[in-house]
């Protein structure tokens, strides 16, 4: 078989040498020893700090334990409590609401901006925009939330002052139940959309120019071209951006913790906040672990569902 007969879809393989290099038993032993040394830090670290803790989470979730007294077996009681404790239930609801709106907003904003930046403009201007949209990503979510807490303050915040200029009455951004969730979403999206934006810019660059030219020649322009041509070609990137967006959104912590501390009431309390509070403030390690296990299952389920759904909508070139 010659090279030309290899189908084009096969990924490029590293060239194989014409003749296998001479191998000796000693060399193989050396290779194995080196591999053991090289892998030891990573594998040991992963086992101690990820694999054992996963098993530990499941085991802990079956016990009542406050660290001080002996742990006592609880069976499924901690899970039962999750479904009866109103704070925990509300936190799951909040997290799902947060996820839906934050991810949708983040994807739409990022996609529109990526399409706009991808249009014709001077190269320097494009890189200015790209850097600007990506910049919030390098800042600390906790510090940014401190800043935003001032900006969204009802009485002296800049946001209400600007709205006041156009005659809008002061909005209780952080102190009313509905507005607080919206504010947490806005602050989160402000910082996170740059990530999806970078993915989309990369995805758009990978779409061959000829396809756009062909579509334009066929009379497709503007919005229609984007809907019928660009979006299907971008669908693999959309899938990645939404999967990562959802996984990250389900773990939201810093923004609600700093902006509202879960309030008013429980209006912005998220699942990770509940894990933090029940373990490290109330010393209910068993219940915290049960919530953690459920969050993990939720993340896996949403991801699996998404890949399944996407089989219908994602087009690979």
């Amino acid at each position: 078989m010659t090279n030309t007969q290899i189908p084009a879809v096969r990924p490029p393989q590293p060239a194989t040498p014409p003749a296998p290099a001479p191998r000796t038993a000693a060399r193989d032993r050396g290779s194995r020893l080196l591999a053991t040394l090289f892998l030891a830090p990573t594998i040991v670290g992963i086992v101690v700090f990820t694999v054992v803790p996963i098993i530990g989470s499941v085991v802990l979730s079956l016990f009542h334990w406050n660290v001080i007294d002996e742990p006592s077996f609880a069976g499924a009681a901690n899970y039962g409590e999750v479904f009866t404790d109103s704070t925990v239930l509300v936190s799951f609801r909040n997290t799902l609401v947060f996820m839906v709106f934050a991810v949708a907003l983040q994807l739409v904003v990022a996609l529109v901006l990526a399409l706009a930046v991808n249009g014709r403009m001077p190269v320097w201007l494009r890189s200015v925009f790209r850097s600007a949209f990506f910049f919030p990503l390098v800042l600390s979510a906790a510090s940014i939330s401190v800043v935003m807490k001032y900006l969204f303050n009802q009485d002296f915040g800049v946001v209400n002052w600007v709205l006041g200029l156009v005659g809008v009455a002061p909005v209780p951004w952080l102190t009313s139940e509905n507005a607080a969730m919206a504010t947490v979403i806005l602050v989160y999206v402000w910082q996170q959309f740059g990530f999806s934006f970078l993915l989309f810019v990369g995805g758009l660059n990978n779409i061959p120019k000829e396809i756009h030219e062909a579509a334009s020649l066929d009379g497709a322009t503007g919005l229609r071209k984007h809907l019928n041509v660009t979006l299907p070609l971008l669908s693999p990137t959309l899938l990645v951006a939404s999967v990562v967006g959802i996984i990250n959104a389900l773990q939201v912590f810093e923004q609600p913790y700093v902006l509202t501390n879960g309030g008013p009431g429980d209006a912005t309390r998220t699942v990770v906040m509940v894990i933090y509070e029940s373990a490290f403030e109330q010393l209910r390690f068993g219940e915290a672990s049960a919530v953690g296990v459920l969050l993990f299952v939720l993340i896996m389920a949403v991801t699996a569902l998404q890949f399944r759904l996407s089989r219908r909508f994602v087009h690979y070139q």
């Binding site: 194995r32 090289f38 530990g56 989470s57 990503l137 401190v146 999967v243 672990s289």
Partner: protein
């Protein structure tokens, strides 16, 4: 006919750009606005910090807020802690990911596939889910409320390992084979042939680690209970909590100080950072 369609689409395109660029500029302003406001407010005296309309360029710039931060919290200690934690994690991740990535890419050993599968699988596990047992493991080691407790668990990096494996796989195999024919052993091949070529890949791992751990909040919040072990984000949030709404420009001066290294990395290492962030997404 096609000539006409072409020119039509061209005019439609040439009408749009100004509106499009203007809209982009507004969005860029909204994105950078909070940061600009933070910097300008930190340069006002605490008494003027609440003045509305906010003056973007302070009429009477003052560094009073900055000396305020140094009075209220031990900025040097926080910065030292953050620097130690971040730098050691970044260097540690470059070492562990470089070595493990090389082993997966270029060495032969038993259980290679299942071990690599294990590494990939841990990329899916969120830190928040395992934090309770991780805390207990660290407690049993006596590492809670120490900087080492933040540093050591962050050394293994599944994503960094994956990235470095790809990086080494992308290097020509012939190089190592030529060295082997010259009589080099596995260590010499790594040390003299491949390792010197790995710098750009390691830069991505290092820059990503720096960006993530410099800004990290959740683990320090749980692990570090005494003020002397606080990192910058933790110190700033507690400063804001202690001051309530008192002196906004002092808190913002602290935020600006803590942003400087992150911004420096953004400026110097934007390319590896961008590549890292996007590939982190694509390969998750």
């Amino acid at each position: 006919m096609s000539q006409a369609t072409l020119s039509l689409s061209r005019t439609r395109h040439s009408l749009a750009p100004w509106a499009r660029i203007a809209a982009l500029a507004v969005c860029a302003l909204l994105t950078l606005g909070p940061v600009v406001w933070t910097v300008s407010t930190s340069l006002r005296t605490p008494a003027e910090a609440f003045d509305l309309p906010p003056k973007i360029i302070p009429t009477d710039p003052s560094l009073e807020a900055y000396s305020g931060v140094f009075d209220q919290i031990d900025v040097w200690l926080l910065a030292l802690n953050s620097t130690l934690v971040t730098a050691l994690i970044a260097v540690g991740q470059m070492i562990t990911a470089g070595l493990a990535g090389y082993a997966f890419a270029r060495l032969e050993f038993r259980f290679k596939k299942p071990l690599f599968g294990l590494v990939l699988a841990t990329m899916m596990v969120p830190l928040q889910v395992t934090i309770v047992p991780v805390f207990l493991v660290l407690k049993s080691m006596g590492l809670t409320d120490t900087l080492l407790g933040l540093i050591i668990p962050a050394f293994p990096t599944a994503f960094g390992t994956f990235l470095m494996r790809q990086y080494f796989l992308g290097m020509p195999k012939d190089l190592g084979e030529a060295a082997m024919l010259d009589g080099c052993g596995p260590w010499r091949i790594f040390r003299s042939v491949y390792a010197p070529l790995a710098a750009p890949g390691l830069a991505i791992v290092g820059v990503l680690a720096f960006n993530y751990h410099w800004n990290e909040f959740f683990r320090p919040l749980i692990l570090e209970t005494s003020g002397q072990n606080y990192t910058l984000p933790l110190g700033l949030v507690s400063l804001q909590g202690n001051l309530g709404t008192g002196s906004i420009s002092v808190v913002l001066a602290g935020v600006v100080l803590s942003m400087i290294p992150a911004v420096a990395v953004f400026v110097v290492g934007q390319r590896p950072l961008r590549e890292g962030i996007t590939s982190a997404g694509v390969n998750r």
